[in-house]
């Protein structure tokens, strides 16, 4: 058991190290997140009350799209240089490796998204009462994006131009994250209790934590055949 944990930790550490050394990928994702949000005031108009109303939704939508952009690097680089085959041969269940890679992906995209979000909330004139709920909802929601996204990324790893397919597969499955993430923020903004949507998000996180590694591992085994 502890060897599973150690191997998983090692895989996660390797992925984080790779992401840190190629920091451009993370920077690109975060830049996309910021630019996408900046487009809204320019498109909708700079009226502060309107921006405050749509702030929670636009931030979540932009976060979802930014996460989609980052998914191809989950398995594709490993597939191209052959290290995925070695990971498949590793003496630990593939599910552990998928989970470790999801954790690394979350640390290198989910956490930067969470850190950037309050800044964008200011740009979008989100009420300060909603800030805590925004961070909490994103802390619960972004790991789901990594986990469910990993299934989509693993399914398309052997596909030419699979990048265009990933959003089609993953976005329908993460719509509930968007709905409850926005609901939590909106409830906090009007001073209502945000705990119900946050608990639903927590439940979805637990469910995807259990189910997504299995589906992802099955898809990776398929790609290696």
């Amino acid at each position: 058991m502890s060897s599973f944990f150690r191997t998983g930790l090692e895989v996660a550490r390797r992925d984080v190290r790779l992401a840190v050394r190629r920091a451009g990928d993370t920077v690109a994702v975060i830049t996309f997140f910021v630019i996408a949000i900046v487009l809204f005031p320019l498109g909708v108009g700079p009226e502060l009350s309107v921006l405050a109303r749509i702030a929670s939704g636009t931030i979540w939508v932009a976060a979802l799209l930014a996460a989609m952009l980052s998914l191809d690097r989950l398995f594709l680089a490993d597939h191209d240089d052959g290290s995925l085959d070695l990971l498949l041969l590793a003496p630990v269940p593939l599910e552990v490796i998928v989970l470790a890679k999801c954790a690394a992906h979350w640390l290198t995209t989910g956490v930067p998204l969470i850190v950037t979000a309050p800044l964008l909330a200011v740009l979008m004139n989100l009420n300060f009462d909603g800030l805590g709920a925004l961070i909490l909802a994103m802390a619960l929601g972004t790991p789901i994006l990594s986990l469910v996204g990993a299934v989509g990324a693993a399914l398309t790893v052997g596909v030419r131009r699979g990048g265009a397919l990933v959003p089609l597969l993953v976005l329908p499955l993460v719509i509930p994250v968007l709905i409850f993430g926005v609901a939590a923020i909106d409830a906090a903004v009007i001073g209502a209790d945000a705990s119900a949507p946050l608990m639903v998000l927590g439940g979805m996180l637990l469910a995807s934590l259990v189910l997504a590694p299995w589906a992802g591992a099955a898809a990776l085994r398929l790609s290696a055949e």
Binding site: V151, L155, T156, G158, V159, R160, G162, L165, L168, L169, L171, P172, L173, I175, P176, I179, A207, L211, A215, A218, A219, L222, S223, E225
Partner: protein, 259 residues
């Protein structure tokens, strides 16, 4: 269980069996649809509240049932295909998904047509409508993933995994009207205490539901049979091309021998 499954894994046996079932399913579809449509559109009484628009329900409700039923069928077929490597199950999942997408689209479109006079809007973003829309996207993703691979067996396996992941949506759709306070009305047929609609409306609805089901069986079998036939044709053509390539090589060799 497994051994009886493997009896149907043989495509030839499936072709024989489906060939026997298909005419019956087609005839039942052809009989039930006119009867159901006549009863639904002319013979059944208008609703005391909804008036004539209630007739949309006779298409909408069976289509929505089928949208879920087809996805469940597809998910079960996918599970069978993944666990027992059952080739006919893959073909069934592939054949089912465009049909399911069609039913889902009919349910969404007729729902919008009904919503305009009844709710005053074509579309609302309540839990039932949103989850059915997600189901529609899942069907589209399934179809796209199936065709994305060069190797059809890989496409089938990938799509099967996706179908199983997407199956979490099925109970959410079913219970969405109970879990959330939706504008869409809760179930009135399958509920505790029996159906809450009058028998004069229940009968046309059931006949339409069976007509939809028979239509699904008919076209599922037609699509599966044509898929299997297409695969056979491809295999035949491949052996023919290889044979032709060999005979093209031999005259030159014969000539070389003669010289």
């Amino acid at each position: 269980m497994a051994s009886s499954l493997h009896r149907f894994a043989n495509p030839n046996r499936f072709m024989r069996l489906s060939g026997a079932v298909l005419p019956w399913a087609a005839v039942i579809t052809a009989i039930l649809f006119p009867i159901g449509l006549y009863l639904a559109l002319f013979a059944s009484p208008p609703d005391y509240q909804q008036g004539e628009t209630v007739r949309i329900m006779y298409v909408h409700v069976p289509a929505a049932w089928m949208a879920l039923f087809v996805y469940t069928t597809m998910a079960v077929a996918s599970a069978v295909a993944l666990i027992w490597r059952h080739p006919v199950a893959d073909i069934a999942a592939r054949a089912a998904s465009p049909l399911g997408a069609g039913f889902t689209f009919i349910a969404l479109a007729t729902g919008a047509l009904w919503g305009q006079p009844m709710w005053g809007t074509w579309w609302v973003w309540d839990a039932r409508l949103t989850s059915v829309l997600i189901l529609f996207f899942l069907y589209l993703g399934h179809m796209a993933l199936f065709d994305a691979f060069d190797d059809p067996t890989k496409g089938a396996r990938a799509a099967a995994i996706l179908a199983l992941v997407g199956a979490v949506n099925v109970p959410i759709i079913h219970y969405s009207v109970e879990w959330w306070n939706t504008l869409h009305q809760p179930a009135s047929i399958l509920r505790d205490g029996g159906p809450s609609i009058a028998a004069s409306m229940l009968w046309p609805l059931f006949i339409m539901a069976f007509a939809f089901k028979a239509y699904f069986v008919t076209f599922l079998l037609v699509r599966m049979r044509s898929d299997i036939t297409a695969a056979k044709l491809r295999a035949l053509r491949r052996t023919q091309v290889e044979g032709a390539g060999m005979s093209a090589a031999t005259p030159a060799a014969a000539e070389a021998d003669r010289a």
